[in-house]
């Protein structure tokens, strides 16, 4: 459903993506790993048009992703995104954060949106926090609200950009549990992560990004335990010894 074909992207003179290709089938979970600055976030941001790309093409269900086009907003409703720093709206309560998109983008009636939002919040384990403000929640709880906010748009895929990197270690588990459940329900997911355990267990495929290129990709278990490329071996050795 997501089809990335040889995209290139430069910031000024620096080319940060040098021909990245990636296909994600419906229901597939793909993890992107790689060192800092390798272009992981940029790939994700290109997929939902937060960033433009210079060459190549990206399609979602055969629709071209084009930042300048009129229907980019419509495409974005089909691909949710969860950020490292949660990015909740601090002036709205938890349930209002989740209802915002359905009401104001999809024009759902308020009651429907509210009922769905409550159901989603219960699903991510926050049924008792619906009227709280984001600042009253822990990082892990905020991230689960952000996941519920993305789910409320009923997207066909969700992109996660290091969703647990800003969390205290003891809060990581709850967020990963929610993500694992989503994967088991058949959600299409592209996850940038440093959680190798999660990648090994949940991902169908892992891609190793280095210097703006995918140098190796393959089934999660093989890539993480027997990487064939030297750079991948290096990288894994370093993160696993952490």
């Amino acid at each position: 459903m997501i089809n990335i074909n040889a995209i290139h992207k430069s910031f000024g003179d620096v080319e940060v993506l040098k021909g990245v290709s990636l296909t994600v089938a419906k229901g597939e979970v793909v993890c992107l790993i790689g060192p800092s600055g390798s272009g992981k976030s940029t790939v994700l941001r290109c997929i939902n048009g937060l960033e433009s790309y210079d060459q190549g093409s990206i399609t979602i269900n055969d629709r071209q992703v084009d930042v300048a086009s009129k229907d980019i907003n419509d495409l974005r409703t089909q691909v949710g995104m969860v950020f490292q720093r949660f990015n909740l709206f601090p002036h709205r309560t938890v349930v209002e954060n989740v209802m915002e998109g359905p009401i104001f983008v999809k024009n759902e009636p308020r009651e429907t949106a509210h009922a769905n939002a409550i159901a989603l919040l219960e699903k991510v384990g926050l049924g008792d926090k619906v009227e709280a403000y984001p600042q009253q929640l822990s990082g892990g709880q905020q991230q689960r609200v952000a996941i519920a906010r993305a789910l409320a748009m009923q997207p066909e895929a969700i992109l996660f950009d290091e969703p647990t990197s800003a969390l205290d270690p003891e809060l990581v588990g709850d967020v990963l549990t929610v993500m694992r459940d989503l994967a088991n329900e058949g959600m299409t997911m592209v996850v940038v992560t440093h959680e190798m355990g999660f990648a090994k267990e949940v991902a169908d495929r892992v891609c190793f990004l280095y210097g703006g290129q995918i140098v190796e990709s393959g089934d999660a278990h093989t890539l993480l335990t027997q990487p064939s490329h030297e750079r991948t071996q290096d990288f894994l050795r370093r993160v696993l010894n952490h």
């Binding site: 974005r76 995104m81 601090p90 915002e100 998109g101 104001f104 906010r149």
Partner: protein, 221 residues
Amino acid sequence: MEFSDITAFLPILLKGALITVQITIGALLLSTLLGLLLALMKLSPVRALSLTAGTFINVVRGLPIIVQLFYIYFVLPELGIQLSAFQASIIGLGVAYSAYQAENFRAGIEAIEAGQIEAARSIGMKSKLIMRRVVLPQAIRIALPPYGNTAVMILKDSSLASTITVAEMTRAGQLIAASTFQNTTVYTLVALLYLCLSLPLIFGVNRLERYFGKSAKGGNS
């Protein structure tokens, strides 16, 4: 200071106070609209817009308000634009304060983290909707205390309208004092009346500030 003086002066001063209030409200509204427009222009990616707004803001901030008033009241008629003294005072103060308002609003808008705007875009919100639902509600909370202070300053500076013959409160006081020589009584009354207008405004701002301060931190509201 005699009681009979007070009862004689007060109605005249109150009439002036009414005009003071009208000028203040008029100038506040004008400066708000113009200030918001200038702030949005200044933040615009279109360079011509941001440059125009920036230049306008600097010029207006660099001029004494009284000179701006004289310009509008005495010079514009020579260019064929006739304004009553009352209109000129509202426009002069409104334009002068729009520059300060613009800077307030801009600071409020810029304080919103880029991440929130990205999150809003990622659920398909268009820029206008993001402005209305994400940026402005938060910017208003941030800009509200300086906004209240601006209102107080406009109230006080509305006395400048006396220099272009508007019979607002200060001018009314001057006229009474000139004809009765009761300077102490007249100007004490004028000062007290200004305080009657400004102190509630100041307290109101303080209260709002506390209220928003709480709910922004997510207090149990």
